[in-house]
């Protein structure tokens, strides 16, 4: 079995990839494709593969592998591909620091602390879960309040349960998936509560994770207070008004010992800040050009560290580009820089990448602010396309071919998503 564990940690690599989840694995493959000879992937877990190992449900790989895989199967395939490509992999290792000269301080545990110089860097740190503090739920601070992702790891990998009777706050896909997982493992799930008037997860998950098991979903409802001194004893839930404040007159209590939070992900950008990269205030991730290069030359980024994705397939796609960019950075075979800025317009929260080049094809990813049906996407004056629907929870992608831009001579294009007239 190939482990990727290097006999000797070199002092210099062509490309260093920070993070060995789906983004990091794809970036490493991209770097190899574009000619990087020595590639180091650093991951903080016991094995590369990231969150995929704990996402034991299916629904992965439809775009990339053209078949429906479970998370572990997707990780397994990618990991084997990456290791066969001959990269060095350090697990249980942590990049504590990157300086301006792309020197990484790597804390490897068993193998000590190393400083590694990288010709180019691909950032693939992924995201972390929002916690209780981020949404200020009033009440006591007992144990038993946990993010859904941590509970998922505890159940699916460590083989324990987070409690016996759970309430889930947030209808993101992880929350829905965990409602089913806990039920199948013998935990009583009292309901899923969502502050927004619409669910945040896929319908498929609402049907197969909630309806199949008669788990109620309460929309426009939130947890207004947590009770219990040592351990969660109950939560107060209440419908919310138009400003998302709980209407306490309509509140009710639910006895439970566990509150799982599925309230969103935040790009993990500690290192990006250390490098003083330009950050997009909407995505929380670095500003990137069409090769996924950040504002710092030679530093690339892909996956959830740039913006939160709903499908791992797109993480892989985007990070492959980041890796290719990093590999090409060294060989000097870089294409000409971008000449058109992409600007989010009407009902578009953000666009990634933040710029494109007129002579290459691109996929622009974006998220809308409001749901719309029977709408259209307009890309400046060069492209207009009908869309049957858009939802904030589902990323919109727009393919742009170079032919479209032949006659465009400006330096910026705005993306609008509008109702059809």
């Amino acid at each position: 079995m190939i482990t990727g564990r290097p006999a000797r940690i070199r002092t210099r690599y062509d490309v260093a990839v920070v993070g060995g989840g789906p983004a990091g694995m794809a970036a490493a493959l991209g770097a190899r494709e574009s000619g990087a000879e020595s590639i180091l992937v650093i991951d903080r877990e016991r094995e590369a593969g990231g969150i995929l190992w704990q996402c034991i449900h299916s629904g992965f790989g439809l775009h990339h592998f053209k078949e429906e895989l479970t998370g572990p199967e997707y990780a397994q395939r990618y990991l084997e591909e990456m290791l066969e490509a001959g990269v060095d992999l350090l697990t249980d290792s942590f990049v504590a620091d990157i300086d301006r000269d792309r020197r990484l301080k790597v804390m490897t545990g068993a193998r000590g602390v190393h400083v590694v110089e990288a010709g180019a860097v691909a950032l693939a740190m992924g995201a972390r879960e929002r916690t209780r503090g981020a949404i200020r739920i009033p009440g006591t601070r007992p144990s038993g309040v946990m993010t859904a992702g941590l509970a998922q790891k505890i159940v699916n990998m460590h083989g324990y349960l987070p409690g016996r009777r759970a309430v889930i706050l947030g209808s993101g896909d992880i929350g829905l998936i965990m409602a089913r997982r806990l039920t199948l493992e013998g935990v009583e799930v009292m309901g899923v509560f969502e502050i927004m008037p619409h669910a945040n997860g896929l319908n498929r998950n609402i049907v197969q994770c909630l309806h199949d098991f008669d788990i109620p979903l309460y929309l426009s409802t939130t947890v207004a207070e947590i009770h219990g001194r040592d351990r969660v004893e109950k939560v107060t839930v209440a419908p919310v008004d138009e400003n998302f404040r709980p209407i306490l007159g309509k509140a009710w209590d639910i006895d439970c010992d566990t509150l799982l939070l599925s309230i969103g992900l935040i790009p993990e950008n500690e290192l990006s800040r250390q490098l003083n990269l330009s950050i997009d205030q909407v995505t929380g991730g670095p500003v990137v050009d069409s090769r996924m290069e950040t504002s710092k030359s030679g530093v690339f980024a892909g996956g959830n560290v740039v913006h939160i994705h709903d499908l791992v397939d797109f993480v892989s796609q985007e990070s492959l580009l980041a890796g290719r960019g990093a590999g090409a950075y060294l060989s000097g075979g870089r294409p000409p820089p971008d000449n058109i800025r992409v600007i989010p317009g009407e009902n578009v929260a953000y666009c990634v990448p933040h710029s494109i080049a007129s002579e290459r094809p691109h996929t622009i990813y974006m998220r809308v602010r409001r749901p719309l049906e029977k709408c259209l996407i307009r890309f400046g004056e060069v492209l207009e396309k009908k869309l049957s629907y858009v939802f904030p929870a589902e990323m919109v992608s727009l393919k742009v071919r170079p032919e479209l831009l032949e006659k465009f001579h400006g330096d910026a294009l705005k993306v609008d998503i509008l109702p059809r007239a």
Binding site: K105, M107, G109, R132, A134, R136, P138, T147, Y160
Partner: protein, 483 residues
């Protein structure tokens, strides 16, 4: 557990006051026991403290707290140095928005100067803008006091108790006092949830429960009305937003809602001040949060609720009259150290000395212990070491090269060290090492910390708790499918 001979002193309560007294008494040849009801010291009011060592000028010398405040302030450099916890004199600014508040600043400045607090200065707007550019431009003046500092209050408790224990003080935790009685030989016998303990002297440093302990002893002449304070901790990204502790002008019952640059570099805002009847009420509230952010935004407009990563509440042990109650009682040997609200943390070293003097006056012989060691081995903080030292340390012991908490860069070696020093729980590790205190709030590191507690203590993972008692974290599957 009944001992043949009573101890010299029992301290009831392991908050910062009890810990400071324990450490002060450990300088002498005495048999001392500290009884704490939580699973670790500092887990009551002390850990929820704002962590400010007050400059010394806030309270009037007409009060006991006013006299002990400045004495205590001056003792912190040496204690922090000896015990290896963080303390920094960052200074404070008390800000005024109008002329009437300007008068209050002048009054407090004069009060401080009367006590000998040095270098108090009123700053004009230009100076404020230059030194603290994030402050509101509506501020017309500010009183600067460079002697104010910040400290991690729980680290102070751990440092004090670790040192006291090394110098012979005994401690029992998760133990509540249920009865107090004098026996025929003049000793005081405490009935507790875990057996009886007797001593010639008992120090009542029980914080919000001090009036109950005094009542058990039949000397309950005061009442504690807990005053709750909610605090909100902001993301580390805001580091440097303010360099000094920012105070509004005080009111008679509160120093107001502050912006605190904590020793760890985060920004903390709070506390509120609301009386509560419930002594276990550590809830944070929607109203409290709104009050804090509304008040703070007026002073530092750049603060936002969206940057909040954690919130908590603590109970000030306020007594009627708003002053400290320190002294002997009608029960011979029973000494109250009660009503210790702000500036109790600041005053703690001075309170400990005062209590020692009281015990001496009451007949306790104080023979200095020649073997007293004033220092503890300072915990290693890998993240703060230079690179070469990190490389050397990790080469020698790989556990110091293995990062467990990635928000705060805490290594396995540091976590194991904290367990060996007495951390029993996830909170115990968190308050000793900061693992789990950062923006992910333990999402990544808590499992590894649980494994390390289980490994070091030889207990199953399911018996690891957040902070003792019934605060279990995980349970077994019905088919026992874990490890």
């Amino acid at each position: 557990m009944t001992r043949e001979t009573p101890r010299d002193v029992i301290i009831v309560g392991g908050g910062v006051i009890g810990c400071a007294i324990a450490r002060e008494l450990s300088r002498y040849r005495l048999d001392v026991l500290l009884i704490e009801k939580e699973c670790e010291v500092g887990f009551g009011t002390s850990k929820s403290n704002s962590g400010i060592i007050h400059a010394g000028h806030h309270a009037s010398t007409d009060t006991l707290k006013g006299r002990l405040e400045w004495d205590g302030n001056q003792a912190w450099d040496q204690i922090a140095d000896e015990l290896g916890f963080g303390f920094q004199r960052v200074g404070e600014l008390m800000v005024a928005f109008d002329d009437s508040q300007l008068g209050t600043l002048e009054k407090i400045k004069a009060q401080g100067e009367g006590k000998g607090v040095p270098d108090l200065e009123i700053w004009e707007p230009e100076r404020i803008r230059k030194e603290e550019p994030s402050l509101s431009t509506d501020i017309i003046a500010a009183l600067h006091a460079p002697t104010a500092g910040v400290v991690n209050p729980y680290e102070a408790c751990f440092g004090l108790i670790d040192n006291a224990r090394e110098n012979g003080v005994a401690i029992v935790v998760e133990t509540t006092v249920e009865s107090v009685a004098a026996d025929d030989d003049g000793a005081i016998v405490l009935g507790t949830s875990r057996g009886r303990h007797a001593a010639r002297f008992v120090i009542n440093a029980a914080g919000v429960h001090a009036d109950r302990i005094a009542a058990l002893a039949g000397v309950g002449s005061f009442r504690i009305t807990p005053r709750k304070g909610e605090e909100y901790l902001l993301d580390k990204r805001l580091k440097g937003l303010v360099k000094r502790i920012i105070f509004p002008c005080p009111t008679p019952t509160s120093k107001g809602i502050l912006v605190i640059p904590t020793f760890d570099g985060t920004i903390m805002v709070g506390p509120t001040a609301h009386e509560t009847e419930d002594r276990s009420d550590l809830t944070t509230t929607m109203a409290g949060g709104d009050e804090v952010f509304a008040s703070v935004k007026r002073v530092v407009p750049g603060v936002s609720e969206r940057d909040c990563i954690a919130e908590f509440a603590g109970l000030r042990a306020a007594a009627k009259g708003e002053d400290f109650i320190i002294g002997p009682t009608d029960l011979k040997g029973f000494v109250n150290v009660a009503g210790i609200q702000s500036p109790g943390l600041t005053a703690a070293p001075a309170i400990a000395r005062m209590v020692t003097d009281i015990l001496h006056d009451e007949g306790l012989g104080l023979v200095p212990d020649d073997g007293f060691v004033p220092t503890v081995t300072h915990p290693i903080r890998v993240a703060s070491l230079p690179l070469e030292e990190q490389i050397g340390l990790a080469g020698h012991d790989p556990r110091f090269g293995h990062v467990v908490c990635r928000c705060e860069h805490i290594t396995e070696g540091e976590v194991i060290d904290s367990i060996q020093r007495g951390a029993q729980t996830l909170d115990g590790i968190k308050f000793r090492t900061r693992a789990g205190m950062g923006r992910c709030q333990g999402g990544f590191c808590s499992w590894r910390c649980m494994e390390l507690i289980a490994q070091e203590k030889g207990v199953p993972l399911t018996s690891v708790t957040k902070r003792g008692g019934g605060s279990w974290i995980i349970c077994e599957r019905e088919d026992g499918g874990g490890r």
